[in-house]
């Protein structure tokens, strides 16, 4: 038994040593492997990457130079995407050349985890992208993916400032106007927001759909990160305010009792919904809200189909952002030149960036291109009744601050929202909800501690 264990250990050590000294190809790979959690980037890639040729019947793409693009898409739910990605990254050095991940996508909530790991490529030193090429990107989109030792590890085609999307028909009925400037006055700060919520309730509508809707607006404006240098949890005042507000809204019936992404939340965005508005960022308005607003998703998206054309956007009580997707080059990639080209074309090319925004209404990561559209009187979104939402996004994007980001944000957010839901609906007391939060968080992240003051 002992011998067996020793010999197994020797084999493992041997493999590790081989892996460490092994040199690997950095270019000329035949397969570009891309990992993602949904098809958003796949759609962009197929529509806008100039080297893209065709999609084959097996779901892989063919580029003009003959390179095959293999997509591995794992949904985000319950950490499945990260679990699958981590497993492959840990085995990346011993994987067959064509199976090695070349590009993987990450989100802001856990970006720092990968950025500070050895598995991501430095896009300047390793890939050779210059500062000049990145100069038109929003600074905050680069700060999120800058490692603790100052290396830039990813790049994004979008900036994701958040806004408050509201129903024009409800605004006309309750507030007497659907003009975004006037509506903004009614929700300019949290006190005004609460007053409007009361009016909405009186008229038979909900201000928000559920418990987590306002969470990001509060959490983005925290004054310090969730976790301090000693791995202790610090609860910001803004979180306390979110809990108080949501409890009040739930008790008074200002919300519909939905949780983010559940079926009630989605159906509230459709024609049968009774909810005034949703906090949404760029992608959410054109990717999620538009889809949910239609009465018949099989019919073309146009005025007359559900709530198409009846949504508007306003800045809301505070500036905030939500999500965003970054393209990261994986260590041991055998296609560095191609990875660099994909990054340059899809995240820095002005013409492509502008075209993406014009076609899809998504907000792209190119200041100059966005400013042109913001000042274009002809530009507007038919879904938003002709409103030029890019103008509002430009204002919001410049105000985004990243002082309070930590690599644990996703785990903490999910655990907190689940624990507090029990408090909002009245199943447990506030103290019990906090206790559950700490116990369940320690299961996810054993290294975190409750702050002892």
């Amino acid at each position: 038994m002992k011998k067996l264990l020793v010999s197994m250990l020797l084999v493992v050590v041997g493999l590790v040593l081989i892996a460490c000294t092994e040199s690997y190809e950095t270019d000329g790979g035949e397969v570009l492997v891309i990992r993602a959690w949904n098809t958003e980037f796949q759609d962009r890639f197929r529509a806008y990457y100039p080297e893209y040729k065709e999609t084959k019947t097996d779901g892989t793409d063919l580029l003009k130079d003959g390179t095959v693009v293999k997509w591995i898409i794992t949904p985000n739910e319950n950490n499945a995407y990260q679990n699958a990605l981590d497993q492959d990254l840990l085995n990346q050095s011993s994987a067959a050349q064509n199976d090695r991940i070349d590009i993987f996508l990450i989100e802001a909530d856990y970006a720092l985890k990968y950025v500070n790991s050895q598995y991501s490529l430095d896009i300047k030193a390793d890939l050779g992208i210059t500062d000049a090429q990145l100069s038109n990107q929003y600074k905050y989109t680069q700060e999120i993916v800058t490692s603790s030792d100052g290396k830039l590890k990813g790049t994004s085609w979008q900036a994701t400032p958040g806004l408050f999307a509201y129903r024009a028909d409800i605004a006309r009925e309750v507030l007497g106007t659907d003009d975004p400037v006037e509506v903004q006055k009614a929700i300019a700060n949290w006190d005004k927001f609460d007053e409007t919520a009361e009016d909405m309730k009186a008229a038979g509508y909900n201000m928000l759909a559920g418990y987590d809707d306002a969470y990001r607006v509060f959490s983005n404006n925290m004054s310090k990160p969730w976790v301090n240098a000693n791995n202790e949890i610090e609860v910001d005042q803004n979180i306390t305010r979110w809990i108080e507000q949501t409890k009040e809204y739930t008790t008074k019936g200002y919300n519909k009792g939905a949780s983010l992404w559940d079926s009630v939340w989605q159906s509230e965005q459709g024609p049968s919904g009774k909810t005034f508005g949703f906090f949404y960022s760029t992608w959410g308005i054109n990717f999620t809200l538009l889809g949910n607003s239609l009465a018949n998703p099989d019919q073309p998206a146009e005025v007359g189909n559900g709530l198409y054309g009846e949504w508007r956007v306003a800045k809301g009580p505070q500036s905030w952002y939500w999500g965003g997707t970054w393209i990261v080059g994986a260590k041991y990639s055998d296609n560095r030149t191609l990875v660099k080209d994909v990054m340059l074309k899809l995240t820095t090319d002005k013409a492509i960036m502008k075209k993406i925004t014009v076609d899809t209404q998504d907000y792209t990561n190119h200041k100059a291109a966005m400013l042109e559209l913001a000042n274009d009187p002809e530009f507007g979104s038919a879904f938003l009744g002709g409103q030029n939402h890019i103008k509002l996004f430009v204002e919001s994007a410049n105000a985004i601050s990243l002082d309070a980001i930590s690599p644990y944000d996703q785990g903490i957010t999910e655990t907190l929202q689940a624990a507090m839901k029990d408090y909002f609906v009245g199943t447990v007391t506030l103290d019990k909800a906090w206790e559950n939060f700490y116990t369940n968080l320690k299961v996810k992240h054993p290294e975190l501690k409750e702050k002892t003051s």
Binding site: K113, Y119, G411, V425, V443
Partner: protein
Amino acid sequence: MEDKKKKKFNNNMYSKWGYIFIAPFFVIYGIFSVIPLAMTIYYSFFEYYFSMGLFPVGPNFIGFANYTELLAGPFWQILGNTFIMWGMGFVPQIVISLLLAVWFTDSRLKLKGLGFFKSVIYMPNLVMASAFSMIFFMLFGQNGPIVKALFDAGIVAENFDIFDTVWGTRAVIGFMNFVMWTGNTTILLMAGIMGIDPTLMEAAEVDGASRSQIFFKITMPLLKPIFIFVLITSMLGGLQMYDVPAILTNQTGSPDNSNLTIMMRLQQYLQNSSNYGMSGAISVLLFIIGGAASLLVFRSLIKNDLVSLDKVGN
């Protein structure tokens, strides 16, 4: 003399082949069962996890620290949840199963279409637990028909959600387990009842015993071995309950961790941080509890049996 020696030698040769033929089982059992089992126990004494799933911590030997941390936390509450949800499914299940088994095997009732009924009650067990959970999630969910009907009848308030209530969620889980396993238990009990010598029942009937007397004085005592088997296998299955509550509560065990089972906790430890230390400790505790509970049930029922056998002897 020499002949004898040769014979002995031949015997040894034959027995060698015997060992070689059974060796594959032991090799495979060793590699895939004994070694992982030993590793589980071994690592339960270590701090060993991957921070955020990517950065390894440990293994550092920490003695019983994992166990003390586990027992200081909500472990007993989680164990309690597991038993409560199992009990809520098992009690109605065993009652209905016994009733059905007795009816199905009673020749005097002359039931028609027995094969059909047996198949129908077994059906729910053929549906995958995850699919079954999704169906119940939709039926009982906030947007589902049950809550809508209750709201229309004025029984519940707006925005009511069964899955926000501790006992509502537990009842749904218990009911699902009941529906899924009743068929299985019925078949097992029927096999047990059919193994009882029918002349005993006929004799009792001739002596004027009532139906309930026959059931309690003849069927039940003779059914005891099968009954114990059903009870212990169901209890061990219940201790390892995972799929139904996990899918119904989106793996959180909400509300208030009241539907969290031991296996769900173990999965949570592995999911985000591959915490081999803590999940090893949970597995070891689960093993001890499962063993102890089985022993307890077995002992208490068998002991009574021995006593009654003694009485018969006297």
